[in-house]
């Protein structure tokens, strides 16, 4: 059976939504899906080497005043960081992470080496559209 394909447009750079993306990615990994992630504007900042899962540098998209409580609850529940979720999914299934060239430049990232080692390449929007056209599931987070 040919693997189903998930195309994820990842716009968010917030820790709550990145964690949600990581949980969804885990489900895709359990199903051996082929996953393409396109890292758009705000998300590219989170992929910078100096940010990653350094929670002090990440904001919340929802309930910003409750970040401390949210993060403490995740830790208590043994929930992985968003970077750990992404790494684990990459180890299990075919996950390719593409940094949008424009998004990278917005946050001062010109080269692949400027981003955490989860990133596979820097691409243009045409690659995203092609992947989205071919995917069985499309998500924008």
């Amino acid at each position: 059976m040919e693997a189903k394909k998930l195309c994820l447009a990842l716009y968010t750079g917030s820790v709550d939504k990145l964690t949600a993306a990581g949980v969804i990615l885990s489900g895709a990994a359990a199903d051996d899906m082929q996953v393409d992630i396109y890292v758009l504007l705000q998300a590219a900042r989170a992929f910078k080497k100096e940010v990653g899962d350094n929670e002090a540098l990440l904001n919340m998209a929802e309930n910003p005043g409750m970040k401390e409580e949210f993060m403490a609850s995740l830790k208590k529940l043994n929930v992985k960081t968003w970077v750990e979720f992404f790494k684990e999914a990459k180890a299990i299934t075919d996950v390719k992470i593409h940094i949008c060239g424009l998004a990278g430049k917005v946050w001062g990232g010109e080269k692949l080496d400027d981003f955490i080692d989860l990133a596979d390449d820097i691409c243009g929007i045409g690659a995203y559209i092609t992947s989205a056209q071919e995917a069985d599931i499309n998500l924008f987070i």
Binding site: A29, A30, D32, N78
Partner: protein, 84 residues
Amino acid sequence: MMTTEELKTIAVDKIVDARGTACPGPLLEAKKSLGTISSGQTMEILSSDEGTKVDIPKWCMKQGHEYLGTIEEGGFFRIFMKKN
């Protein structure tokens, strides 16, 4: 599907103790452990996460494995499956 009494008699080939992890932890632990057993062998997943008892049967169906049943213990679930 097997009855609770039948499930209790199975000598499973692999036990995955995922108690203490929240979703999606147990599902991913099951996925990773599946690679360590052979076709025809059985696996028991221990989970304290309510969602796992729904996730594993559906996952088995999609992946072509056999879901054998679930036993509810005090505070956790014992979920049985056979790899195809």
